[in-house]
């Protein structure tokens, strides 16, 4: 595909369940970012990968959040023991990798924790 894809687009989880969100970046993009967007707010940085290396995870809210990109392409964001405050849109973005490269975003996964 031409753009960043994410799945599922919508996820409803019961509090305490584990969820996994998938991101397929643009082919050839070295850098991959995860952001969290609350309703009415701008996206907030969660974590950054360069190829398979997770270089920054400073934005992950707690140790319940875990991200991986084992082969340097597809990435998965996992949230364990979901809480209501985890309800948000999770956005994935990818870029070519240079310091000034534009990040291109996927459509996001809307997570609702009941």
């Amino acid at each position: 595909g031409a753009g960043v894809s994410q799945s599922p687009r919508y996820k409803v989880a019961k509090r305490g369940q584990d969820v996994a969100l998938r991101c397929d970046p643009i082919s050839g993009h070295v850098s991959l970012f995860w952001y969290q967007q609350a309703l009415g707010q701008g996206p907030e940085f969660l974590t950054y990968f360069q190829n398979e290396a997770q270089l920054d995870k400073s934005g992950l809210p707690s140790d319940r959040f875990f991200a991986e990109r084992p082969e340097g392409s597809v990435s998965t964001l996992k949230i364990q023991r979901t809480q209501q405050e985890d309800s948000a849109v999770y956005l994935c973005a990818s870029s070519l990798g240079g310091m000034k490269e534009t990040q291109y975003f996927g459509p996001g996964t809307r997570l609702l924790v009941l």
Binding site: V4, S31, F33, Y35, G40, Q41, G42, P43, E44, F45, Y48, Q50, L55, D56, L91, A93, S95, M99, K100, E101, T102, Q103, Y104, F105, G106, P107, G108, R110
Partner: protein
């Protein structure tokens, strides 16, 4: 602390009524300012990148400008299809392209 503030939070325009959106930023050593458009239920769509004060970029009815402390997104003779949330973002001073976003301006253009 790196910070991005957008104003107004919401803007309602009549079709054809030109206006400007503001993005003010505080960051050490600006390495670019990005404008995105976001439609409901979709991810942000890239519009422009500006790198230095005085730089301007245009796309259809949109023109983005940059000073040392803020950026403006000028919308000339808007149409209803320009209705969206407009986000601006800057890379943090810590390195690479970890973006800090403003909260956005929700623009509604009515016929």
């Amino acid at each position: 602390e790196d910070q991005v503030t957008q104003s107004p939070e919401a803007l309602r325009l009549q079709e054809g009524e030109s206006s400007s959106l503001n993005c003010s930023y505080t960051v050490s050593g600006l390495r670019g300012l990005f404008w995105y458009r976001q439609d409901p239920g979709k991810g942000p769509e890239f519009l422009f990148t500006l790198y230095s004060a005085g730089e301007e970029k245009e796309k259809e009815r949109l023109k983005a400008t940059l000073t040392k402390k803020e950026s403006f997104l000028h919308i000339t003779a808007p149409k209803p299809e320009d209705s969206a949330t407009y986000l601006c973002a800057v890379p943090t001073s810590g390195g690479y392209n970890k973006l800090i976003f403003g909260a956005g301006t929700r623009l509604a253009v009515h016929p």
